[in-house]
Symmetry: C2
Subunit: 415 residues, 2 copies
């Protein structure tokens, strides 16, 4: 911890107070695109004529609850499945996940399965650090969350293979690529082991929230992570029904007005469609058409996502550069090649205090503990850094404060 040798707690506190005196109000709490990113999709709103989808449906009228063909094709391409195996939803893939879990709780994943809500204590594996919304929805639906640690290549597979011998373990929920907040992408071996493993529950389901499937920071293939096709792996292992995959355009077009999707085996899709029959007539098909016209294929997605990358890459690089310069040896952190988060591992017992110090100086971070079920980080270590939302100049100010807060918290801890 060489960098601390030159700095006294008093000196750090003086600098901290000077920062605080600036009276800033900055919000780094959520993984939101910034205003410049939202501007990239303005041309999408040009859809003001020609409302027929490929199959002749007037998208402005009622229609197929599973989505218009061109939108199903787009998401099929993104998720690597046949468009017939895709349901296109409204603006929130979280809502599709929540609905799929709700159906499992009320009806069971497939016809004949026992509804999970009828079982005492159905359990869901949640790799940690993970996404607080996933934990929250499991809680809401009465599903017990079981945390599993995440390593560089994905969750602890030995532990998972052992846990799934319990028939009460009904599933797993995860962000397998550029994880929120771990930044980790599951290795091919992790994907294969998840696909192949024997589960005591025949209706075991993996909620594969592939929110960042096209969200690379760099154009060069060798500076990107690659995620193996989980559906193909499951099918190859004879477990075609095991995975429900999700993604959305929330961080491609508009976070507050995108389009979401689900992909799965034909049996799973038929089941979801059947249970959706009386839930609604159809999702917003005008917005589906807008998206499918704006992003007609993967090449268009790639070109568009590189515009996003050009905006947010400097922010990630700034954060990583400051962390490297100021905190090497004192803490560790992820160096993600995509997604929306940097995962910071503070010295044990310091995360809450760091977040508090930042808050008192005008910078709101995601609450410490939030990447863990019930907000309980046993090490009080993990802080989710979300660099995308503030403009670069504001982020620069945040990164003046953050290392100070880390060092102060660490020195207070030692005293």
């Amino acid at each position: 911890m060489n960098m601390m040798n030159n700095e006294t707690l008093d000196g750090l506190r003086a600098r901290y107070e000077a920062f605080k005196a600036r009276g800033l109000k900055l919000d780094m709490s959520r993984g939101k695109p910034d205003a410049a990113q939202l501007e990239l999709s303005r041309p999408m709103l040009d859809l003001r004529d020609g409302f027929l989808s490929e199959d002749g449906t007037d998208t402005r009228n009622y229609g197929d609850p599973l989505g218009i063909p061109e939108a199903r094709r787009l998401f099929g391409a993104l998720l690597g499945v046949d468009p017939a195996q895709v349901i296109v939803g409204g603006s929130a893939s979280l809502n599709l996940i929540f609905d799929a879990l709700t159906r499992a709780v009320l009806h069971g994943p497939l016809p004949g399965d026992t509804p999970w809500g009828k079982l005492p204590g159905a359990k869901i594996l949640c790799p940690v650090p993970g996404y607080d919304w996933h934990f929250g929805m499991c809680d809401t639906l009465g599903l017990e969350v079981v945390p599993v640690p995440t390593y560089d290549d994905g969750p602890d597979m030995d532990m998972i293979e052992s846990l799934v011998r319990d028939p009460a373990v009904k599933g797993m929920i995860c962000v397998p690529m550029y994880g929120n907040p771990s930044g980790v992408t599951y290795s091919d071996e992790t994907v294969d082991r998840l696909a192949r493993m024997d589960t005591a529950a025949p209706d075991f389901r993996i909620i594969w929230d592939n929110a960042y499937c096209a969200h690379h920071l760099y154009p060069e293939a060798e500076r990107r992570d690659h995620l193996k096709n989980m559906y193909a792996a499951c099918a190859a292992a004879g477990h075609e029904d095991r995975v429900l995959m999700f993604t959305s355009t929330s961080k491609m077009t508009f976070a507050g007005g995108g389009v979401s999707s689900m992909a799965a085996s034909p049996r799973n899709i038929a089941r979801q469609a059947a249970l959706m029959t009386y839930q609604l007539v159809c999702y917003d098909k005008v917005n589906q058409l807008r998206h499918a016209r704006f992003l007609p294929d993967l090449a268009a997605v790639e070109a568009h996502m590189m515009k996003h990358a050009a905006i947010i890459r400097p922010k990630f690089e700034l954060v990583l550069e400051v962390l490297e310069r100021e905190l090497s040896g004192l803490a560790r952190w992820s160096k993600p090649r995509g997604g929306y988060f940097i995962c910071f591992y503070a010295p044990k017992g310091c995360a809450k205090r760091i977040v508090q110090l930042c808050a008192e100086a005008g910078v709101t971070l995601t609450p410490a503990g939030s990447p863990y079920p019930h907000g309980y980080d046993p090490d009080d270590s993990v802080i989710r850094i979300a660099p995308t939302y503030p403009p670069l100049e504001e982020l620069r100010q945040v990164m003046e404060l953050f290392p100070l807060a880390v060092k102060i918290a660490a020195m207070e801890m030692r005293n």
Copy 2:
């Protein structure tokens, strides 16, 4: 049945076969707006700049799951409640209803209530003829549907007041204005009795699907139905939490891309909001803003809805005129002053046959029985006529066929 004296079954059949030989393919099965109606909202798509809502939120980014202020105000005005008591959703109010019922099943309507799914045989009253999607969602959620007949002023209130003495009767679901398909609007007395009645279940809820709240056919006040404010009535009766009200713009702007809403007591809204927390980050706020700018107040809604009325009124009038001319004395039907349906009461035992005859001649009607739970109309009498979707010329052709089919079915029945 004087009109039949002049016609023989053979003569009718000859005319029927001649119609069939035209080889038409017309769909009258759903209550959909026609293309001209959809065109009315084209200017709504001009939103391509100025994406901030009144509270400064960039609607393109993540934001409040309850909706933007101007959209909550619009729906508050439509439903007659304070905007703070409104949640604005995605494109489908059915989805909001489905979610609210699902929450009652999984968690109970308010904190402390027993989840309806934990009770043996929770029952929901459904006025008939009613909306097939309502019955279907109750079935899907394991709620037993209890049909209650509808009269000119609403459902049979004596029967309802008697049924709600059963604590297993947990609620009611209905379209209280320009009913689907009854055309009936509940009288003030019906509203008051629903609001005041004693229910054995303290957590009794009325799902008030006010889909046609602004969907009058005529500009003159005296040619419109008026629905008393159900929330105000419930509050006055000391049963503020009894009603959950819903509406949407599906038949104001785009059926496939509108905005939906829910309104209820502060306690109910707080409960819904709490259980929504991990369901999604927010609904499509860009579309909410588009709608709130296009329909800023009730005067704008009124002006817009009169454009719809000008398109669909001649269709209703055509159907009613033909029915009057051809079928007086043989059958009866509703004469709605708004909404999307004419409810046709064929001679008992004839509805299925009439729908079949129409189908065989190229005209798809809503299946007979569909306005009843499980598709079972005990009288086999009710046919839902949905005049809005076909252009006037096509509707004219349908109305050549329909009376023939009714007369043939009635004569076959007598033979």
